[in-house]
């Protein structure tokens, strides 16, 4: 049985939504919940929530995260923060998964300090899913994977190659895609125009016998088409891209709401109501759970700062699924295989 360690000091309503999700999961899922946060507040909030106390343990950790501190120094500045304690608990239990809506930089930094890295991995990658036009795998999964979206801001070509291997292994397990299609995000399809790290990674991946299919460089506008199951980039570009995609979806939603407010347009919007609802469902990030942090020896899932209980429950489900499918060992194996394959002489 998986152990889900959940940080209840972050998320919508000051972490109450995370706690609500933990309560739901304790009732509905075959998991052991470990709720980390202010014990006093958690206990009084739990009184009003239907939950299964047999499957829920509370661990007190309420040091606030200091502001304006280098993420690398957080552990020292707040050793009993919910993230630090949660990750320590995760490190001690081989079946544990950590879920948090805390600051991604703090989570990444503390996770790298507390958890073990997979062999051959020196940088972690935060992998976000996003909906695409093309569906994939036997489950008709509409989601593709984009990594890194903020864990490693400065990347070398070596890092991009590891990210490709990790992302492909993750997609292969989670979406059941036998041989995922992997693309490198670039400013065009011509390698000559790409930055050096992307160019080098492209040359290393091209024509190799890898457990995934490398489909080349991809422009930003090709991301949502779904040609690639996994898109690899550095943390800086990935973060910008994923936030742009979210911003576009939010703007489209705002425009629809504005149209609903206008009397003349209301009828038209109402007639499209079913389609709009589906579109909203499709682009609603709360449905995706969260972004797994790949490269570590335990699953860590980072959810958005304003996550509601639905997002947390989906993150918990994702974590349990990762544990059940052995995603971490698959990622480790893929990194080893790819490292060996890429270490061979470059094909002529």
């Amino acid at each position: 049985m998986s152990t889900i360690v959940i940080d209840t000091c972050a998320g919508e309503d000051q972490g109450r939504e995370a706690l609500a999700a933990a309560a739901i999961a304790s009732l509905d899922l075959d998991v052991q919940m470990v709720v980390v946060g202010d014990e006093d507040e958690i206990t009084s909030a739990l009184d009003g929530l239907a939950h299964d106390a047999e499957r829920l343990r509370v661990v007190h950790a309420a040091d606030p995260l200091p502001e304006n501190v280098d993420p690398r120094d957080i552990r020292q500045a707040a050793p009993r923060s919910s993230i630090a304690v949660g990750l320590e608990l995760t490190a001690r239990d081989p079946d544990a998964i950590f879920v948090s809506a805390g600051q991604p930089a703090a989570i990444v930094s503390l996770a790298l300090q507390t958890l073990g890295r997979l062999p051959g991995v020196d940088r972690a990658a935060l992998a976000a899913v996003y909906p695409t036009l093309r569906h994939r795998g036997p489950n008709d999964d509409p989601f593709a994977l984009l990594l890194d979206v903020g864990a490693t801001i400065e990347c070398t070509s070596e890092h991009l190659l590891r990210f490709a291997a990790m992302g492909a292994a993750y997609a292969s397990k989670i979406s059941s895609v036998e041989r995922p299609r992997v693309g490198l995000l670039a400013n065009g399809n011509n390698p000559a125009n790409a930055p050096l790290r992307v160019r080098e990674a492209h040359h290393s991946l091209r024509g190799r016998d890898l457990p995934f299919e490398y489909i080349g460089l991809m422009r930003g506008d090709q991301v949502t088409h779904g040609e690639a199951d996994v898109i690899v980039t550095d943390g800086f570009s990935g973060d910008v891209l994923v936030r742009t995609l979210e911003g576009v979806a939010a703007t489209a939603d705002a425009l629809i709401r504005r149209a609903e407010a206008r009397f003349k347009w209301r009828l038209g919007v109402q007639m499209l109501g079913g389609g709009i609802a589906k579109l909203r469902e499709f682009t609603d990030w709360e449905n995706y759970g969260g972004a797994p942090l790949l490269g570590l020896d335990r699953p860590v899932i980072v959810t958005q700062a304003n996550s509601g209980s639905r997002a947390f429950v989906n993150a918990i489900r994702l974590g349990a699924k990762m544990q059940r499918l052995g995603v971490i060992s698959a990622v480790a194996e893929a990194v080893m295989t790819s490292t060996a394959a890429l270490g061979e002489e470059e094909p002529s």
Partner: protein
């Protein structure tokens, strides 16, 4: 107020059957028929219930203990239910079942589903003439056990007078005959003694705990019977070796050490059991351990780490309430049921 029984008193255990002692599904008509047709051998007790009951009815203590089952199951099931209890080694002193057939024949439709008139009447009838009695009541959150048991306890304690009771029974829409019987029993039992020590509510439906807060400390919601056993150990009704029996039964049924430890932690966080009592229990269990297996040693280990984890917790015990707003509680429960029936809002929200 001394909240636990004095020595030498007769201890009367009152148990509900379905969802309190027996694992029963009667949420649909199909389940109901299945339950009705089930043989005694196929009926399953809730994990730990049998061990707890056997510990409470220890042969050395048996002459000082009485056990009554009051069940909403129809009288036609008496033979099979009696056999099931006998298979579990339990011989109740009194076994009250609901006369559903006569309710149908006499057209008392509300009495078929309703519990207040039936259970309150049965509790009161079986108390008539009792003296020097302490009572422990066991029910569940699927019906209105906390409400009925507390009302009964407050009638005995003289905290619900005839006027209040009449208005409560009126709100519950009881039939005239039921009201007359309960009111007449009230006349005989009102203020005869504060006999009910604890009301254990098995959280079968996992209802939120704050549903039971308005009843005060007398009502103890429990997620499992280890929790009930720990509370009873704190009250010196059970010994450490009784806890071991419950523990072993739960362990055999698949309860992991983590689940058991979580149950203990929950009680401490709620202030139902004090950390000091757990420390005492760990010491007592260690003495029992020599004759028992790994289950106990693992539990002691978990118990000690739970105590260490919660060293900062200084939770006040829940308060005993002298005034309970029964009408308000009845109406809010009814509102929840109506909301569930017509708007589909889950009962647990």
């Amino acid at each position: 107020m001394s909240d636990w029984m004095g020595s030498g008193h007769l201890l009367h255990l009152r148990w509900d059957l379905d969802k309190t002692y027996l694992r029963t599904d009667f949420d649909s008509l199909k389940d109901l028929i299945k339950t009705y047709r089930q043989k005694a051998e196929d009926k399953v007790a809730i994990v730990g219930a049998r061990s707890l009951m056997q510990a409470l009815l220890d042969p050395h203590e048996r002459r000082k203990r009485r056990v009554t089952f009051i069940s909403g199951s129809p009288t036609q099931m008496r033979a099979v239910l009696t056999r099931k209890l006998r298979l579990d080694g339990i011989e109740p002193d009194l076994f009250i079942l609901k006369p559903n057939l006569s309710n149908i024949i006499s057209g008392r439709v509300r009495s078929i589903r309703g519990q207040v008139g039936y259970k309150l009447g049965a509790l009161m009838r079986s108390y008539v003439g009792a003296t020097d009695l302490d009572e422990l009541l066991f029910g569940d959150d699927a019906e209105q056990d906390a409400f009925i048991y507390s009302l009964y306890a407050d009638i005995l304690a003289g905290r619900v007078d005839a006027v209040q009771l009449a208005s409560i029974l009126g709100a519950c829409k009881l039939y005239r005959a039921e009201v007359d019987e309960v009111m007449s029993l009230h006349g005989r039992l009102f203020n005869t003694g504060d006999a009910v020590r604890r009301i254990f509510i098995h959280l079968e439906a996992r209802s939120p705990l704050d549903r039971f807060a308005p009843y005060g400390a007398r009502v103890v919601p429990v997620y499992n019977y280890l929790q009930a056993a720990l509370v009873l150990h704190q009250g010196e009704v059970l010994r450490a070796r009784d806890i071991v029996s419950v523990l072993e039964a739960m362990s055999v049924a698949g309860y992991t050490p983590a689940r058991l430890a979580n149950s203990v932690q929950d009680l401490v966080r709620r202030g139902v059991v004090a950390v000091a009592d757990l420390e005492r229990l760990a010491g007592e269990l260690a003495a029992v351990e020599t004759t028992r297996g790994r289950t106990v040693s693992t539990f002691i280990q978990r118990l000690r780490s739970t105590v260490a984890d919660l060293h900062h917790v200084r939770r006040k015990s829940p308060e005993w309430l002298t005034e309970i707003n029964y009408l308000g509680l009845y109406h809010s429960a009814r509102f929840r049921r109506t909301r569930h029936r017509f708007l589909g809002i889950p009962l647990l929200d």
